[in-house]
């Protein structure tokens, strides 16, 4: 906020967008829309994060079926893993070189894009780790969808909404779909597979062919980025 002028209203736009998406997902924890005003008027938890900037505690489960290419081809609508990479960073806040960026996201994304032979512009749909609204903004920058510092304005302008140029968290994300910690990464992949198969119903991203998942842990010290696609 100090460096790029990111505003609390831009952060609120992420929460409103993810609740709007969650309202289209029958499996989301919160299937209720909220307004910018509700977010801005909610109580502070740890400034500048307010109640509606934070994801909930959730119970939930997710499962993935992985198979060899040979087996997968015998079944309906296989979705391929195009790339998957992990990266790490210092965990203590005092050790972070730049508090406005997450180097582990940038490194994991670079490796996953390289493996897949695609770039940020080729991605049609993203499920990323919006544990807090600012985390989504910083992740969209780290994944190369927007320049550093431009993620807040992009969210506010609707560029990451369903119907926007790069829909982010059509499931509702951690914010509205929920954040059952151990299941979150697999649940993100389940959403991307559903999107790539064209089976996401009212929250379907039209023509989604290539999808990305981004999961982090440990104070942004560990990040995993994976890319998925179809034939």
């Amino acid at each position: 906020m100090e460096k790029y002028g990111t505003t609390e209203a831009q952060m609120a736009a992420v929460a409103v967008k993810n609740h709007r998406h969650g309202a289209l997902n029958p499996k989301a924890q919160f299937q209720k829309q909220i307004t910018i005003d509700q977010v801005l008027r909610s109580a502070y938890v740890a400034d500048p994060l307010k109640l509606y900037d934070c994801c909930p505690f959730s119970d939930g489960g997710a499962a993935l079926v992985l198979a060899s290419e040979e087996v997968a081809r015998r079944h309906r609508k296989p979705v391929w893993v195009l790339g998957s990479a992990a990266a790490s960073d210092w965990m203590l806040l005092g050790d972070k070189r730049d508090l406005s960026r997450v180097p582990a996201t940038e490194r994991a994304a670079a490796a996953a894009y390289r493996q897949a032979g695609v770039g940020p512009r080729d991605v049609d749909v993203v499920e990323l780790h919006d544990c807090f609204t600012i985390a989504e903004i910083v992740a969209t920058e780290g994944l190369g969808l927007f320049e550093p510092g431009a993620g807040g304005r992009a969210a506010e302008a609707g560029r990451t909404s369903l119907g926007g140029e790069i829909p982010v968290n059509p499931s509702g994300g951690l914010k509205a779909k929920g954040h059952p910690i151990g299941a979150t990464g697999a649940a993100q992949i389940a959403e991307i597979v559903t999107q790539i198969r064209g089976e996401a119903g009212p929250r379907q991203v039209d023509g989604a062919k290539t999808g990305l998942t981004h999961t982090l842990g440990g104070n942004t010290a560990t990040v995993l980025v994976s890319l998925f696609g179809r034939d």
Binding site: A43, A46, D47, L49, L92, L93, G94, L99
Partner: protein
Amino acid sequence: MAATESPITARAFFERVRAGQLTALKCGSCGELAIPPRQLCPACHAKAWQPVDLRGEGTIASFTIIRVAPRAHAGDAPYALAVVKLREGVSILGRLVDIPLEKVSVGLPVRFRPLVIGNQPTVGFGPS
């Protein structure tokens, strides 16, 4: 002075905090500073640490005000936590004391203040 493998443990670091001294480690191999203590140099991966006393002066690099605190600190809320960039170049997280919450800002000069919270020595910062 010969570099040793573990010149200062986490326990010794916090006992020095209790005594009013903020201590960093300096890498005998590449000169990197680190705080609090750790096994390996983050820059060159050497184990050649030497303890260095810091002046305890710095400026706020980033901060938050905790309104909903973990249970053990619930009685203290609201209170401010800040990442403080110390004059020697390293940064560390600490609790702010004796600074009105509305005066806390990025760039504000602060000075190390030893705190004891629940008998546990803790890094704090107060007005410079």
